[in-house]
Symmetry: C2
Subunit: 165 residues, 2 copies
DNA sequence: CAATTTATGTCAGTCTTGTTGACTTTCCAA
DNA sequence: TTGGAAAGTCAACAAGACTGACATAAATTG
């Protein structure tokens, strides 16, 4: 027996292959726009997207260890080490030996690191702000819910929590 | 659940730096999850993410030209040409000389190309389907709105339109 | 205390995918 | 018809991922 009802209802339509295809392409194009502004700035440095990511998460979690950063970024330690070495040598990140466990290195942004972080994140915040404003609070709530379900569950704990006053 | 606050609260809260930072990190982690499944499959081939993107958009727009694909993908023609050459040599994409303008190449997936496209997109559709289902139709609508505003406006016309029967 | 594990760093080599530069073929307009 | 623009191709290089092997120091375990 075949159900001949067309999927007109909103509750069914949002799971058609067309909708899913649209979602896939939204991810592609939105991510490209999202990374384009910082990329332009980074071209003036010897840095790339990998450096931006390291700077971002060290800023968000000052004192984080290399291992924690590896978990967040999902790259190999050799890959991360290359960018950290450069950023430490260039004086944007400070690496302090751990007090409790002296094998660990705790990472902090220097004032120069903070300056670059601001410059980079400013462009992305501006883009997000414009998108949020145009879409409205309810849409933002929906955006958040879908995005959290797209990511791997283990990564959710790394996403910034919003302070509710 | 949407918290109902006095006008100043609700209409401003979703534009705090905390919210914007959260949005930035949602983009990062969601995109990483989104690309992880196809990446795993592609490891068994000599192909990478660039090949996936080419296959995806040739599938979506059979007969598209190299130039149109360049506009969509936002890479240099030399970069795109390399992956197209491989895919044509391997018999996944067919390149036909244009009839009206013989400088153009029109691109089509072969049956083998269609097979790989299905295999790759299946994993992404599955992830999107699960996320959409978990978040619900209203959230999906909000997701779509925010994503369309994050991307560069010129790219919106390349996003799949949903057939409403 | 010796052996093992953990955290980090480094060297070497490979792969994908971006880049620029130089080139051919084709079309079109002066 | 000829010179420029457009579409596509080939070659060489660079960034940033990867794996594998190895080193060092510190913590943990038997």
């Amino acid at each position: 027996m075949q159900d001949r009802r067309p999927p007109t209802g909103e509750s069914l339509l949002f799971l058609t292959d067309d909708q899913l295809l649209q979602g896939i392409e939204l991810m592609f194009f939105a991510y490209r726009g999202f990374t384009s502004d910082p990329d332009k700035i980074l071209q003036n440095y010897t840095y790339g997207r990998a450096h931006h990511r390291a700077i971002h998460f060290v800023h968000r979690q000052p004192g984080t260890t290399v291992n924690n950063l590896l978990d967040i970024l999902g790259v190999t330690k050799q890959s991360l080490n290359r960018v950290l070495r450069q950023l430490v040598n260039d004086g944007l990140i400070e690496s302090r030996v751990g007090e409790r466990d002296r094998r660990e290195r705790h990472l902090y942004l220097t004032p120069e690191g903070v300056a670059l972080e601001s410059k980079l994140s400013e462009t992305q915040r501006k883009r997000m702000r414009a998108a949020y404003k145009a879409a409205g609070p309810d849409a933002v709530q929906g955006f958040r819910q879908v995005m959290e379900h797209i990511m791997d569950p283990a990564m959710r704990r790394h996403v910034n929590t919003v302070k509710r006053d």
